[in-house]
């Protein structure tokens, strides 16, 4: 076995490299073993409306609890006002990776406090 003639700097760079390599492999193996390979599982959450001049802005959180990334996620938010009237707003999110969330906003002309607000994902693409 040949001896490694390395100086302290080389040993420290090697140690950092080894730690990164082992941590990466460990994490990837853990993820590969623990993830059952379920498809993207998306849900939408709407936050508190805020007044922005003439319109109302509602924060949207799209969450993916599945194991696959969703692409081109279409989100629809509906404001149901008394008297059967509705106002719809849409949002498209480019990517929602697995176990991730993405945030955005939708705007309404009517005050959301005067009706019932709900949001849902209407569809997405497999990348």
């Amino acid at each position: 076995m040949s001896k490694l003639e390395k100086n302290a700097l080389e040993w420290s760079v090697f140690t950092v490299g080894l730690a990164l390599v082992l941590a990466t492999v460990g994490f990837l193996v853990y993820e590969a073993v623990s993830s059952p390979g379920s498809p993207a599982d998306l849900s939408v959450e709407l936050g508190r409306p805020e007044r922005r001049g003439q319109v109302w802005a509602v924060p949207v959180t799209v969450r993916n609890r599945g194991e696959e990334t969703a692409e081109g996620v279409q989100v629809e938010a509906v404001l149901r006002l008394p008297g059967g009237r509705e106002e719809r707003s849409e949002l498209e999110v480019l990517f929602v990776p697995r176990h991730s969330q993405r945030e955005g906003w939708v705007y309404f002309v009517q005050d959301p406090a005067r009706g019932r607000l709900s949001g849902r994902v209407t569809g997405f693409e497999e990348p």
Binding site: M1, S2, K3, L4, E5, K6, N7, A8, L9, E10, V13, F14, V16, G17, L18, A19, L20, V21, T24, V25, F27, L28, V29, E31, A32, S35, G37, E67, T69, F95, P97, R98, H99, S100, P127
Partner: protein, 295 residues
């Protein structure tokens, strides 16, 4: 084992290793910056499954190992030293990729660990290959403290013997990866493959073969004489070298395309066409890149 034959086996001064790391970091940026600035590559970081990322990481590590073994900085290195350097370079590559991605605003605290790690792995492996090439190639050849010769590979200090088949294939694969990976993740490969007529695709395959032949045998490219000295050139050697070169280019291109998900749900014909389209870059890398990568 061969480490002992090095001049006295002395430790190198820290200043020298620091210079080497600096060259490595510059090389990492030089070769991987186009990929770090490409959004398809970020996406690959979170679209790819963990098992694919693991395979990709393993393949990258093997390539680093092979490159260090056959063309690395210390051509008199033992296997232990080659492994030591591969780990160092992987670490530096990851740091380069993570730092640059962070500065570009591609990593932030709100992201889940899977996404952050995925991006760093995909970009870091490419950066690590750049680090390896940079440390070995960007240096001033006289500045090496090994006392060894700076041309030729392990065991052929006179630098005249042609490198073995394994060395040639590994270097060709390194060259092909370095060149082809820059365009592999883009949509254009698929667009060209789908929209171009089959005859033109065939033309691209012929172009790749001709380029390989011209670079390896006709243009007096740097290092090409040493690989195949004139007296060993008969039509069989020429044909087999050109074929092997293109085969490496095609296999490498196909693997890269597969990793970036370009084969998912595609017909066989489209996959082949994409491979040939990318194979032009692969072939350039495998021939010209290889001759430049070797010392």
């Amino acid at each position: 084992m061969s480490g002992q034959s090095r001049a006295g086996g002395r430790k190198r001064p820290a200043r020298q290793s620091l210079q080497e790391y600096a060259r490595g970091v510059v090389g990492g940026l030089l070769f991987s910056l186009p990929l770090i600035y490409t959004m398809e590559v970020w996406w690959a970081g979170f679209i790819a499954r963990p098992s694919h990322l693991l395979l990709y990481f393993g393949a990258g590590f093997l390539l680093l190992f092979g490159y260090n073994r056959y063309a690395g900085l210390h051509e008199d290195a033992s296997w232990w030293e080659v492994a030591f350097e591969a780990v160092e370079e992987m670490g530096l590559g990851f740091l380069v990729a993570a730092g640059t991605l962070w500065l570009l605003g591609r990593l932030n605290a709100g992201m889940p660990s899977e996404e952050i790690l995925g991006k760093i792995v995909v970009e870091g492996v490419m950066a690590a290959i750049g680090v390896s090439v940079g440390a070995a190639q960007l240096g001033n050849a006289g500045g090496k403290g090994n006392g060894g010769s700076n041309q030729g590979m392990k065991g052929e200090e006179n630098g005249e013997e042609p490198p073995g088949l394994a060395a040639q294939l590994v270097l060709a694969a390194c060259g092909a990866v370095l060149f082809a990976s820059n365009i592999a993740p883009t949509e254009e490969i698929l667009m060209i493959a789908v929209e171009t007529s089959p005859w033109k695709i065939l033309g691209l395959a012929l172009l790749s073969l001709v380029l390989g032949g011209v670079i390896l045998f006709q243009s007096d490219f740097r290092g090409s004489q040493r690989q195949t000295p004139d007296d060993s050139r008969n039509s069989f050697t020429v044909a087999s070298r050109i074929t092997a070169n293109y085969a490496v280019a095609l296999v490498t291109s196909a693997l890269i395309l597969w990793f970036f998900g370009r084969f998912d749900g595609m017909s066989v014909g489209t996959c082949v066409a994409q491979t040939v389209v990318l194979g032009v870059a692969g072939s350039l890398g495998a021939s010209a890149g290889r001759l430049l990568l070797q010392r």
